[in-house]
C-alpha cells in the first residue's frame, strides 16, 4: 500500500510545477499545444488546487486563465446566451440576463458551495472538472447547452450530452480549452425546476436534478430531465422523458415517470449516501421537479 497519507500536506502545494499566465487566448492555446498532457488549466482553482493538495494529480505545468478577459462575461447573442468559460459563478448568479432568461441556471449556480467558493469558481471549471455531481451541469443539460472548445487547430462545438465521459473525464482533448458555453433561447412559456439534496445546505449533491418542459394543449410537449451524482456522468432520464411526452400530466403519470428514472441511473454508495438512497431520492427529486415545472409552465401542477 502506498504512503499516500504522508504525501498530503494541505498547508502547501506539495508538488513542483511551472506556472504560466498567458496574456492572450492564442498564447494559452500554444502553451496547451506544447505541454498538453503535462499541463492543467487553472481557472478558479477550487477543484484543481484541492486535487493537487490531495496528490490526486501532479501537473508539471499550470496554465492560468486569469489574464484572459475574453473568456469572461455573459451576453445575449444570436442563437442564445453566451457565457465565457472563465466567468465566475458569482457573476452568473448576479447576472440580470441569467436571472430573467435562464432562471434554471441561476438557481443551479446559486446552489454551488458558498459565496466564497462562487467568488472563485467558474462555470467552465465546474464543467471541465466533470464531477458527476456538478450542479451547473444538470441545468445546462436540461437547457440543451453547447460547449465551445478551441485549440490551435481551431474551434469545435460539443453538445453537452456528449461532453462528459466519466468522473473527471471530458470530451476535450489535452490541447483543447473550453472557451464558452452557449445556451439556446428557451422555448416560450416553459416550466423549469432545479432540485438538490446534500447532507447539509453547503455540500456537493448527493443527488441533483433539473427539469425543463413545455405544455401544449394541456399535454407535455418538450421535456428534458437531467440528474447528477447518480451515474459516472450527469445523465438524462430518457425513459421518463419519453413516458411523459404527449401525455396529460396527471399525478399518476408523474409518479410513473419518476419511477422510470431508475432505468437511466446507476448510482453507487459513497460517503455522501448509499446507492439505494440515491435511487429513492432521485425519484422524489424528479417528482418534485416535474410538479414544479408543470406549475411554472401554467399547468396548475399539484
Amino acid at each position: 500500500m502506498s504512503m499516500w497519507i504522508n504525501r498530503i500536506d494541505t498547508h502547501i502545494l506539495p508538488i513542483n510545477f511551472q506556472y504560466h499566465a498567458p496574456k492572450t487566448l492564442e498564447e494559452a492555446l500554444k502553451l496547451l499545444a506544447e505541454y498538453g498532457d503535462e499541463a492543467k488549466i487553472l481557472s478558479g482553482g477550487t477543484d484543481l488546487l484541492v486535487k493537487m493538495k490531495q496528490r490526486l494529480i501532479e501537473p508539471r505545468h499550470i496554465i492560468s486563465l486569469r489574464n484572459l478577459t475574453e473568456l469572461r462575461g455573459i451576453r445575449e447573442v444570436e442563437g442564445g446566451i453566451h457565457i465565457g468559460a472563465a466567468t465566475k459563478l458569482r457573476e452568473i448568479e448576479r447576472s440580470q440576463i441569467i436571472a430573467e432568461r435562464l432562471p434554471l441556471l441561476h438557481e443551479a449556480v446559486k446552489a454551488i458551495g458558498s459565496i466564497q467558493i462562487r467568488n472563485m469558481g467558474t462555470i467552465g471549471g465546474n464543467l471541465c472538472n466533470a464531477s458527476p455531481a456538478a450542479d451547473s451541469a444538470v441545468a445546462l443539460m436540461a437547457l440543451g447547452a453547447e460547449l465551445h472548445a478551441q485549440s490551435i487547430e481551431g474551434e469545435r462545438i460539443i453538445p453537452i450530452e456528449n461532453f462528459f465521459k466519466g468522473p473527471g473525464a471530458t470530451a476535450l482533448k489535452p490541447v483543447e480549452l473550453l472557451t464558452a458555453i452557449r445556451i439556446p433561447p428557451p422555448p416560450e412559456n416553459y416550466g423549469w425546476a432545479f432540485r438538490k439534496i446534500g447532507r447539509t445546505s453547503l455540500d456537493i449533491a448527493t443527488v441533483n436534478a433539473a427539469v425543463l418542459l413545455t405544455l401544449r394543449g394541456g399535454r407535455i410537449d418538450l421535456c428534458r430531465i437531467a440528474l447528477g451524482a447518480v451515474a459516472p456522468t450527469p445523465v438524462r432520464a430518457v425513459r421518463a422523458e419519453e413516458h411523459l411526452r404527449g401525455r396529460e400530466p396527471t399525478p399518476e403519470l408523474i409518479q410513473e415517470a419518476s419511477e422510470l428514472v431508475v432505468e437511466d441511473i446507476s448510482p453507487i454508495t459513497d460517503v455522501r449516501g448509499t446507492a439505494e438512497y440515491r435511487v429513492e431520492a432521485s425519484k422524489a427529486l424528479v417528482r418534485d421537479a416535474l410538479n414544479l415545472s408543470i406549475e411554472r409552465a401554467g399547468g396548475g401542477g399539484r
Binding site: N6, T10, Q54, I204, E280, R287
Partner: protein, 781 residues
C-alpha cells in the same frame, strides 16, 4: 432575597472579542520564531503493523533533522494527567515502531521550510510487517484476535491485556433481579452511537523553543498548560522549572486538548535534537487522525411499575476507544455516574468495558459520554412512558434525581449532594412554550411532511469538586494585584476555550471589588508565573475557576479597605467601593460622609510611595462539591418522508445554570450545544474503510459535515430561557453550562422524530437513508 448586581447577570462583550474578530488574537499557530524549523510527521499507512526497517538517510541528505521511534525516550505514558495514578493506565509512546491505526506517528522531520520538510518526509523509506487489524470492539474482544497492546502500565507496574480489553468497571447496587421482578413493564434495547470528530476550529499545534540550560518554552493548543508541563517533565526528564508552557488563545477544543496532544512531545523531541525552535502545526487532515469522541454500544434495560416508579436498571456499555487509552477508565466511571444521576434507580447493575480497536484514539468530547448515554436513556424513558400510558414529562419528573439527592459529578469517587435545582420549572415552562399538550400522536400522520415534538432533559456536572479527594484532580490557582492606576492584573493558568470563561472571572472580580470591568486585566501568563490549574474541562471554568477569582478578589478588597481606612480615617467595615466609570476605576468612600473618598489608583500609588507594598492576593482553591447544571430541550422537527430529510422547526431550550453571569454568552452556549447535538443526532460519523483501514473520508473535512446556519432554526424560532437558582457553593451562585447545553439534545431530537413518524432509531446518526429504509419497512408491515 435577590441581590442587585452591577455586572453579574448583565450581558457584556467578551474581553477577547475585539482581538478575535479583528484577527489580532495570537493562537499557537501564529507563533513564528527566528530560526524556526517546520516539522512534519511520518504517519502509518496501515491500521496495524510493525516497522521492520526504516531508512531516514534520504531525509537527512536534504538537510532535515529526523527523529524516529528509536530516538525518543523509552517512556510509556498517558497524555492526560487529570486523574490520579489509581485511575490512569499508560499505553502511549511519543513515536511508535508498532503503529496501531492509520495515522499513528512513527517518525518526524524538521527543516527550514514546510516544503522542504514535506520533501524530506517523502524521502523516508519504511518497510512494514502488516498485522491483522480490527475495527469493531466486539470483534476486537474475540479471543485469539491479535492484541494491540500486550502489556500496558498501571501504578508503575506492567499489566497484561486480555482480549484487547483496555479496562473494565462493574457496579451493583440493590438487587437488580428483584427490581425487575417488581416492575410491571421492562424494556431492553441496544443503542449504538456514532464516532464523532471534535471539529474544533484550530488544528493541534506546538511551537517549542529549546532554551540555554536545557529547558524548553512551549506554545501549544491546550486546555491545561500545567498538565502539559508535567507530562513533558515525565517523558523527557527536564526539570519542571525549566519547562515553561505559555498561554496562547485557544481556537476551541471541546475536550480534544484535555490531554497533551501528540504534537507537543514530538516537537520537543525535534527541538532538543535540532537545538532550534520547531513548529509542528497539524493540517486538518492530520487533526482528523489525531482524536475523536468515544463510540459506545449500550445494552440498556429499565423496569417501572404502573404508578411510574422505576424499579431497576441495568446497563452494559462497550466503549470503542481506538488505539490508546486517554481516559477510558475514568470515563467508565463517569458513564455510570451520568446514568444513575438522571433518574433514581433503586436497584442497578452496570458493566462497562473499554476496548482497543485499530482506529484513531478517542478522547473526551463536550459532555464526556453524557450526550451518548442521555440519548439512550431519554429515548428509552420515552418508550417506557408510552408503554405505561404516562406523559413522558410526568414520568421523568417523578423519577428524576434532584434537590437533596446524591449526584455523581465525575464517577464513583466524585459525588456531592444537590443543593440547587430548577428541573421542575424547566420542564413545566418549556412544555408551555412549545405547546406540549398539542403535540401529535406518534405515527398518526399520513402526509409527506410530518411534524413531531420531542423532549429531552439532562445535566452535567460543574467541575469535579467533591467533599473528599477521590481520583480526579480539581483545583485552581489565582493571583490578583492592584496596579498604581487602579487597574488590576488577574493571573490564572486557566484556559479560555472560547466560551468566555475568563471574561466571567473578570466580571466576578469587578463585581466583588467594585471596579469598572475594564479595570480587570487578564494577564497572558505561563506555567512559571501561575499557580496550578488542572484544566478547563468538566464545565468547571466559571464554577471552580470563578471561585478562585472570587477568593482573591475578596482578599484584595479586604486589603484595600484596610489601607483606605488609614488614609480616610474611618473604620474598614464602614467603607464601600463603587466603580466610577468616569474616572475609569474604583472609588473607596465612607458611606454618608461627603468628600471622604479615594480612588484605588491613588491608594495604590500612596502604598508605593509610602512603601506599604503591593496590594495583592494569591489563592489555590478546591471546590467541595460538583453541582449539576440542568437543561431541558423541546424540539419540533419536520420529516420529509420522501427524501428522509429532517428539518428543525422550533426549539425551546431551558437551563438552570445557577446565577447567570453573562446572559448573551450563556445563550450562545445553548445555541452551540443545540447545533452540536443536531449534528450528533443526524449527521456526524467517522466510519472506516475496511480495505485501507483508513477513515472513509481520509481525513477530508469536505466529507465531515456539520450543519451551517441555514440548516439550523432561525433565531426567532429558537427560544432560550433560564431558570435562575442560587447555587450556595458557586461564585455569586453560579454553576457551569458548557456541557449540559449539549447533553440532552440528541435524545430530544430522536424523540421528536419518533413523534413525527412513529419510528425509533437505535443507531446514530439518524441519516435520511435510515429514515427511508425504516419507513419502507413500516409500510410493508
Amino acid at each position: 432575597m435577590r441581590q442587585s448586581f452591577r455586572f453579574i447577570g448583565r450581558s457584556t462583550p467578551r474581553m477577547d472579542g475585539v482581538a478575535k474578530v479583528t484577527g489580532r488574537e495570537i493562537y499557537a499557530s501564529d507563533i513564528y520564531l527566528p530560526d524556526m524549523l517546520y516539522a512534519r510527521v511520518l504517519k502509518s499507512p496501515y491500521p496495524h503493523a510493525r516497522v521492520k526497517h526504516i531508512d531516514v538517510s534520504g531525509a537527512e541528505r536534504l538537510g532535515a533533522v529526523v527523529v524516529t521511534y528509536r530516538d525518543v525516550p523509552d517512556v510509556v505514558y498517558c497524555p492526560r494527567l487529570v486523574s490520579t495514578p489509581e485511575a490512569t493506565y499508560k499505553d502511549w509512546r511519543v513515536l511508535t515502531g508498532k503503529p496501531l491505526y492509520v495515522g499513528d506517528p512513527i517518525a518526524a522531520v524538521a527543516a527550514e521550510s514546510e516544503e522542504l520538510a514535506q520533501r524530506a518526509l517523502e524521502a523516508i523509506e519504511v518497510e512494514f510487517e502488516v498485522l491483522e487489524p480490527s475495527f469493531d470492539p466486539l470483534e476486537s474482544m474475540r479471543p485469539g484476535k491479535p492484541l494491540l497492546h500486550e502489556r500496558i502500565r498501571y501504578m508503575g507496574e506492567e499489566v497484561e491485556v486480555e482480549n484487547n480489553i483496555a479496562c473494565t468497571m462493574e457496579i451493583e447496587q440493590g438487587d437488580v433481579e428483584r427490581g425487575f421482578e417488581e416492575a410491571d413493564v421492562v424494556l431492553e434495547r441496544e443503542y449504538r452511537t456514532n464516532r464523532r470528530y471534535h471539529c474544533q476550529l484550530e488544528p493541534k499545534t506546538a511551537v517549542v523553543r529549546p532554551e540555554p540550560g536545557g529547558g524548553v518554552t512551549i506554545w501549544t493548543t491546550t486546555q491545561s498548560i500545567h498538565n502539559t508541563r508535567l507530562l513533558i517533565h515525565e517523558i523527557f526528564g527536564i526539570p519542571v522549572g525549566k519547562i515553561n508552557v505559555v498561554k496562547t488563545a485557544l481556537g476551541g477544543a471541546f475536550g480534544s486538548s484535555i490531554q497533551t496532544n501528540i504534537v507537543v512531545p514530538i516537537a520537543v523531541a525535534l527541538a532538543l535534537k535540532a537545538r532550534k525552535p520547531v513548529r509542528l502545526a497539524y493540517t486538518r487532515e492530520e487533526d482528523l487522525h489525531e482524536h475523536c469522541a468515544y463510540q459506545m454500544i449500550f445494552r440498556l434495560k429499565l423496569g417501572a411499575r404502573r404508578d411510574g416508579r422505576l424499579t431497576a436498571g441495568s446497563l452494559e456499555a462497550i466503549l470503542d476507544i481506538g488505539a490508546h487509552q486517554i481516559q477510558a477508565y475514568p470515563l467508565l466511571g463517569c458513564l455510570v455516574g451520568w446514568w444513575v444521576s438522571l433518574y433514581k434507580l433503586p436497584n442497578l447493575r452496570y458493566v462497562g468495558k473499554a476496548v482497543y480497536t485499530n482506529k484513531v484514539p478517542s478522547c473526551a468530547m463536550r459532555g464526556y459520554g453524557n450526550p451518548q448515554i442521555t440519548w439512550a436513556v431519554e429515548s428509552l424513558m420515552d418508550e417506557l412512558a408510552e408503554e405505561l400510558g404516562l406523559d413522558p414529562l410526568e414520568f421523568k419528573l417523578l423519577n428524576h434525581v434532584g434537590l437533596g439527592d446524591l449526584f455523581w459529578g465525575q464517577g464513583p469517587t466524585v459525588k456531592s449532594i444537590i443543593k440547587s435545582s430548577g428541573v421542575e420549572e424547566l420542564v413545566r415552562r418549556g412544555a408551555r412554550l412549545i405547546g406540549w399538550d398539542k403535540r401529535p400522536k406518534p405515527g398518526a400522520q399520513r402526509g409527506r411532511y410530518r411534524r413531531g415534538i420531542g423532549f429531552g432533559r439532562g445535566f452535567h456536572t460543574s467541575s469535579a469538586g467533591a467533599p473528599v479527594p477521590g481520583t480526579v484532580v480539581d483545583y485552581t490557582g489565582a493571583m490578583l494585584k492592584v496596579n498604581e492606576d487602579g487597574t488590576l492584573d488577574y493571573v490564572t493558568a486557566m484556559m479560555d476555550c472560547g466560551g468566555g470563561t475568563l471574561t466571567a472571572h473578570a466580571k466576578i472580580i469587578a463585581e466583588e471589588i467594585g471596579v469598572p470591568l475594564e479595570c480587570v486585566n487578564i494577564v497572558r501568563a505561563d506555567t512559571q508565573t501561575t499557580l496550578y490549574d488542572v484544566c478547563t474541562h468538566a464545565s468547571r471554568g466559571v464554577y471552580a475557576g470563578g471561585a478562585a477569582a472570587l477568593q482573591v478578589a475578596r482578599e484584595v478588597k479586604r486589603k484595600l479597605l484596610e489601607l483606605a481606612a488609614r488614609v480616610l480615617d474611618a473604620y474598614p467595615h464602614a467603607l464601600k467601593i463603587r466603580p466610577d466609570e468616569e474616572r475609569g476605576q474604583g472609588v473607596i468612600y465612607v458611606e454618608g460622609v461627603e468628600g471622604r473618598e479615594i480612588t484605588i489608583g491613588e491608594l495604590a500609588s500612596m502604598a508605593r510611595h509610602k512603601n506599604w507594598g503591593t496590594i495583592a492576593a494569591v489563592a489555590s482553591v478546591r471546590q467541595g462539591s460538583c453541582p449539576p447544571h440542568f437543561t431541558a430541550y423541546f424540539v419540533e422537527v419536520e420529516v420529509d418522508t420522501e427524501t428522509g430529510k429532517v428539518r428543525p422547526i422550533r426549539v425551546v431550550a431551558g437551563a438552570d445554570v445557577g446565577r447567570v453571569i453573562n446572559p448573551k454568552l450563556a445563550e450562545g452556549q445553548i445555541h452551540g450545544g443545540f447545533a452540536m447535538g443536531w449534528s450528533m443526532a443526524l449527521l456526524e460519523d467517522t466510519p472506516y474503510d475496511p480495505r485501507s483501514g483508513d477513515l472513509l473520508n481520509k481525513g477530508f473535512i469536505t466529507d465531515y459535515k456539520l450543519p451551517t446556519a441555514r440548516d439550523l432554526p432561525p433565531l426567532e424560532d429558537f427560544q432560550v430561557f433560564f431558570v435562575e437558582t442560587e447555587e450556595p457553593t458557586g461564585p455569586f451562585g453560579a454553576k457551569g453550562l458548557g456541557e449540559g447545553a449539549l447533553n440532552p439534545v440528541a435524545g430530544a431530537i430522536a424523540n421528536a422524530i419518533y413523534n413525527a413518524i412513529g419510528v425509533r432509531f437505535y443507531e446514530l446518526p439518524i441519516t435520511p437513508d435510515k429514515i427511508l429504509k425504516a419507513l419502507k419497512g413500516g409500510e410493508r408491515r
